[in-house]
Symmetry: D2
Subunit: 255 residues, 4 copies
């Protein structure tokens, strides 16, 4: 079977773990990685991550010129860099290469750009690309409709060093129409990787939807899931949330 060739933007803490996950799946071959700095220039991501083979040659953003994507063709692009990474792969988008943009926060200008891209190719943008968080997000919206009188609160727990409120939790609050100041509770202690809880309180019963992150590899698995989904999809703008919502629809139990 022909392997799916992947190019990754971003080689920070999460980017490395994501590269690692793609390297471990035989379905994929990691073609290259683009990082901001010149560090480890032309080395192989595979070697840096402890593998005994060459894969994922490392380029700097200065290496990206008009011919880059022609000379080093990939079947899908995965972006874990930052909000400005998107400006680098306009050519790839126009050439119809599917894109997974796992970027926490875009400004309006980049959102416009991604919409332009989506005319040429399948583009998926999600601030949190893990399966579990998106399952929670969809289930919570349904539950809110089924039990409209339930009181809802969100609790998110992360390691002490995480300064800002969880963007994922803010997103959950937004889709549920909850005021962040009032209904989002942030706990910062020790080394908790990530824990999101949505509490539905009714007079005689409580429902809790709970997601616990064990490792950042969940982001890599989410990206793998997203790439597999995008291949074969028509051009358009996708999110993990819409994919999961669609999967909910297709998997409603039949009696």
């Amino acid at each position: 079977m022909k392997q799916i060739r992947i190019g990754i933007f971003g080689f920070g803490k999460t980017g490395k773990v994501v590269a690692h996950e793609f390297l471990n799946e035989s379905l994929f071959t990691l073609a290259w990685v683009v990082r901001k700095s010149n560090q480890d220039h032309h080395k192989y991501a595979s070697r840096l991550l402890g593998h005994e083979f060459d894969a994922g040659e490392i380029f700097s953003i200065e290496d990206i010129h008009n011919g880059f994507f022609l000379e080093r063709p990939v079947d899908a692009l995965v972006d874990f860099s930052g909000s400005t990474g998107i400006y680098l792969y306009k050519k790839a988008a126009e050439a119809g290469i599917p894109i997974v943009a796992a970027i926490s926060k875009y400004e309006q200008e980049e959102i416009n750009l991604i919409k332009t891209f989506s005319k040429y190719t399948a583009v998926l943008h999600s601030p949190n690309i893990t399966l579990g968080i998106n399952v929670l997000m969809v289930a919570a919206q349904i539950l809110q409709k089924i039990a409209p009188h339930a009181d809802i609160e969100i609790v998110e727990e992360h390691f002490k060093g995480k300064k800002e409120t969880s963007g994922t939790a803010v997103r959950i609050a937004n889709v549920l129409g909850l005021n962040v100041e009032q209904h989002l509770n942030s706990i910062r202690v020790g080394g908790i990787v990530g824990r999101h809880e949505i509490i539905f309180g009714m007079p005689n019963q409580t429902i809790r939807l709970l997601h616990e992150s064990i490792s950042r590899a969940a982001f890599g698995q989410g990206a793998i899931f997203a790439v597999k989904y995008l291949l074969g999809q028509p051009p358009g703008l996708y999110t993990m949330e819409t994919i999961i919502a669609e999967m909910f629809r297709e998997n409603i139990p039949v009696y």
Copy 2:
């Protein structure tokens, strides 16, 4: 607005709480209650439950004769008695009165009978009629399809005195195709009203769906929900689970 007239079978611990919930909702009027024994014969359930008005005259099962349902017409029947209660309201079913049968366990004979009833009227049978448990049940089945590689375990916690495994937990295991011996864990301590947890373990993340019962009134609220739903439905066999599954389908978020 015309009130919905309710007749209740069963006046045990749960039956009383259910009667109480119907008495508290102005949409309903409690016409009568049928209990097994002659205790409190012809008294009013409302008075016994601390209300200052007359409602829910108490009858014994010996009072049920062919004309009972004609003389004391109701708009819906709610059965929290036991597996044999069903034999008492054949006439009512044939007359097209909607029935909510919240019975933990029927033998084949009673299942056949309920199917017969369902030709004449809308019959809902659910071993656990609470909203929350059925939401958990439907969400778990969908999640199992979305994340087929997740390991699933069920933990149910109840008060020390509850001898048998939670029928609800067994039902959850069954719909998920899980071996009860291997994947259902029962905790019996102190006075826990009821807690059901479904754990989905993936390599890098864990999802937990959790339902905590606060009081038996949740059964009354479930019965109210079921009665409202059944009124206006065509004859047929319904379950809370199918209703909730349908509500999932209708409330998938649209983007």
Copy 3:
């Protein structure tokens, strides 16, 4: 065996449950109950709470005169009324009757009064008299000393209608030296009876101490525990917390 005679101040929601618990324990006899209003004057608390015997004659606060405690002697006083209840039983305190004051919040004046009482008799004052909460409070203080670098957060969950922050949670924050604004998180949803969680986050592990209330009867059990303890103790000021701390000391495992 001679029964312990109890007098209760307060017959509100909690007071009733407490009376109920004392009525259910054969070690005790409920001599009387004093309530603010004239409601149910001279009726028996036992009858109002569904028992078939006479116990706990109900008096109004206007009935309390100098001779009251001589005419209706008790072995211990239990106060679940309010911060001003204390002014009623000065005579009883001076006569050496042990007092359990389960009052959420006293002003300085009442604190002074209780100190005066403690010269004559054993007085226990605790805003939360449940065993579990006091166990949590003591264990948390020890744990904070053992793991001084752990980050600590408190989460308290209660029913939607509870307007104010849990006094118990504030007390926990205070004994741990935590800023209430920063480290105390309040969740208000549905019908949750009461849930207090203390989270100790360390870089590689998390410890959670969790207390869940099932019913207000826990206050009655706490009062029973307190009365049993106070009988036989010398005059002085006690709290549930100091008693539990003492029990911790006596029960450190020996190897």
Copy 4:
């Protein structure tokens, strides 16, 4: 300040993490590591673990001869190897070097040997050396004494691949006198690092003591804690549990 010289036995998954933790603490210098095989012979553990300096030269067990501990003196020994590692450092023990043996399970013969060692030096043996688990263990024993009527259940959750019951959970059951078959519940799903919960159920309240492992580094931190404690202690047999119990005693809150 003079650094504390450490020798480590064992360089498997946990041994590596433990070495890593010692390398990160400036109070310590890692003198050497002994592993079973000849792999990475005479390389530096520090280099293998990504550090840019030389520390922790790697020896095989075949390198251990009578003069080993004289030629390469350390201030404390830490053993994360296996039950037979103990036979290698008899000479070190006789020379009075403190020993931390974090071995899950010893047979009687090794228990006897460790007792012999404890005549010459301070020896600490604990199957689980994390602070949190030992805090749970001590707190649970105290709580059982304070609330003797509480029902107790243990739930332990670990990754799917863990075949056997958690030795730590078995140990908790044993100190609480609980039948493992009846009161210990094991959940095996996905990638859960480790979670131990002790549930105390009372009629009106539930207390839960919960420990969640985030990473194996907790074992390294536990070893560091143990070494610091042992230095300066007289010869004898210690356990983390006894040390934590002693810390409980010293930190009972005073009012």
